[in-house]
Amino acid sequence: MQKKQKLQLHPGTKLIMLLLLNVPIFGITDKNIILPFVVFALILLILSREYKVVFKYIVLYAVITSIGVFSEYIPDIIIDLTSTLLVSLKMFLPLIAYGLLVARTTTISEVSYMLDQLRMPDGVIIPFLVMFRFFPTIHEERKMISNAMKLRGIGIDFKNVVSQPLKTAEFIYVPMLFTLLNIGTELTNASLTRGLGGTQKRSYLSTVHMTWQDAVVLAVFFAMIVFFFYLKMSGGIV
């Protein structure tokens, strides 16, 4: 039985691309130039089999772009009111494509291994890992709290949020902090039992290394940046 191969990039590669993309975005003002970079990110996402994200991203991109194209037909007031958000989104969308690539295709164990290779202290690694573990927990607890609140007639709905925002916030917030801190205590005991915080160096089940895939992707990315700066220098684009 052969499993279909999917692209696995080193987290470092993705982060380098995300940071370097700032150079063409803020260095070259012609916005059409950014499109190849976006397409490149989408191709990488497709190769990593993240079809849903790609679809959502394309829809968002199309909406934002079409607002620019049809701006004459949209009432002025709407664009004026939304302009701060529109412009931010338009500027940051290419970056968000690479952000999605980082967020969707990187596993937590990869991150922890990479941080360990970078010789980060445990004080940074452990909070990072715990944080990722707690995102789903927060979601669950919030649901349970709002169920409990509904029973007492103080649900988290639009009316309550608008009419008494501080009270509603307090009623969600305080129980949430309580339960999470309790869960944290349990987690501490459990992980201490398993040897977290010991003097021995931890070992890793999965490791990541730079492979030829990373080399190819980075080479293409650098080539694109150099090519567009060459075009800019030679006066082909502004």
Partner: protein, 213 residues
């Protein structure tokens, strides 16, 4: 002497040990840090999403976030008030948000403000309310690199606004003037102060009573 001296000695040693323990970060603190970072980020993103519905308010999301997040920050300091705790929270927040948005200014404001907040909070040993409040003001400026891009990267942002018509770009540049920047900064400071006081009140009302702090 005898027994009393021995007891005195024991007590001294216990005090010393607890002092030492208080200074160093233990696994318990590291896990609490992770939990608080998760809460901080989730609440901040929720605030951005809600304020994004009314787009001009989007510029003030840092200020609104500060009002809501004051409680988390104050509880964090009283629970894990140890060296580097503020810095680590800031670094995690900046790295995660920066890896999503990717603008370089986010990293610059994020890391520098986290360092400042850490320095100020550690001056008061994380116990003085005034210093904690000042450090929270700096902490609230961390995401400024994202919504403050209209000033930090002014030319590029206004250039790209021209897609929506010259008139809109003109109006946007009138909206994002220097007085507006000062209003934004003032709002963030005010938000942080209000948030800190709300945090103090809630801490007293709920957490001190139950003995969690």
């Amino acid at each position: 002497m005898g027994k009393a001296g021995k007891e005195q000695n024991m007590e001294n040693r216990k005090m010393k040990e607890s002092c030492k323990m208080n200074k160093k970060l233990e696994v318990k603190d590291l896990i609490a840090m992770g939990i608080f970072s998760a809460i901080y980020i989730v609440v901040f993103l929720a605030v951005i999403m809600v304020s994004g519905l009314v787009p001009v308010v989007y510029l003030f999301s840092g200020a609104i976030g500060a009002v809501v997040l004051g409680t988390v920050y104050m509880l964090y300091l009283s629970k894990v008030g140890k060296r580097f705790s503020v810095l680590i929270l800031g670094v995690i927040f900046t790295t995660l948000l920066g890896a999503q948005v990717g603008v370089w200014t986010m990293f610059v404001t994020g890391y520098s403000m986290a360092i400042l907040a850490e320095l100020i909070a550690s001056k008061g040993k994380y116990k003085s309310f005034t210093l904690n409040m000042v450090s929270f003001i700096f902490f609230s400026f961390m995401p400024f690199g994202v919504y403050g891009a209209f000033w930090l990267l002014r030319d590029t942002m206004l250039e790209s606004a021209k897609v929506y018509g010259e008139a809109h770009a003109q109006r946007l540049s009138e909206l994002t003037t220097t007085p507006m920047l000062f209003a934004l900064i003032a709002a963030t400071i005010a938000g942080a102060i209000i948030g800190a006081y709300i945090g103090k009140k809630l801490l007293k009302r709920h957490f001190k009573k139950s003995g969690i702090v």
